[in-house]
Symmetry: D2
Subunit: 99 residues, 4 copies
């Protein structure tokens, strides 16, 4: 089942500078061969459900191994059967209606 | 890896009364043997990562089979290695500090 | 405009025990005269849009005053014009379909 | 109080094509003079708390006026007092650590 998600991973108990942990997750998504786009409040990912959620799980496991004692993650998940739609098409369909 | 999640599953394209679909997901969580608590904006679930996310995936699959063409889900995920904490303990630790 | 929200407020940079900060927010909701219910991953609140979001803003201001340097909050917001529905009615409409 | 949010607004009861409603919200953010960036699962916005949340409220009001009977929105909210950080700086601080 194809899925488009938006994942925001927040490490707790390791101070205020979280970017190195977010960068670690970006590498995990890339290594998993997933199409992902970083934005200011999370990362959009497109792929098969199991591959996407295995990668998110791996982020939690990896950050815990890096010494992060607690993690709070928020994920937006979208699936549809009416038609295939890519992340770019979602954005384009909105932008066309703004101009 | 143990996880506590809060999942809000929103079926799209099937009108405004969503409760029968939410009820279907509650049955899936119960059938999976997961500890879950329904609240006004989602369902809190406690269990092993794979079992919890397999159940959420099954909700998407089941709702699509019921004819829901598009689903938008929001999940809050918490994992920690510093100590074990149940859903009840999370609530109790706050309530004790309110009184 | 009436709204039902589910707010999860996560203080960053103050260690792992977050309950005293969550308790502080519970007091702010109560002092604002808002109907709120604590659950394991957030707090459900029912009320007028401005009162609810003023209270959430006050939580951020108050926690920053308590020394929290960074806050990450997730809010689920529901509004509807087809009919009035309370938090209890939302839960009841699902529970009736589970049995 | 400065805030960076990520808002995903989902109209219910108006079929599956949601882009015209998302486009309406993009216009509201632009008209409010807010710095906003559309992405595949929401819109990142940077500004003063009251201006940002007034604009989100206006989106709900406007969509209801367009005939949307029910709306479900998810918002990620970030505030910090340790330092000023723009949306671009958040992204850059991660990208630097990926290469």
């Amino acid at each position: 089942m194809k899925v488009i998600v938006d994942v925001a991973i927040i490490p707790l108990g390791v101070g205020l500078s979280l970017s190195k942990y977010v960068a670690e997750c970006e590498k995990i998504f890339k290594d998993a061969g997933l199409k992902s786009t970083l934005h200011a409040n999370g990362t959009n990912i497109e792929g098969e459900w199991d591959e996407v959620f295995n990668a998110i799980k791996k982020c939690h496991e990896q950050l815990h191994q890096m010494g992060v004692p607690r993690i709070s993650t928020n994920v937006r998940i979208g699936t549809r059967t009416d038609r295939e739609q890519t992340m770019e098409e979602k954005i384009k369909s909105v932008q066309e209606k703004i101009l």
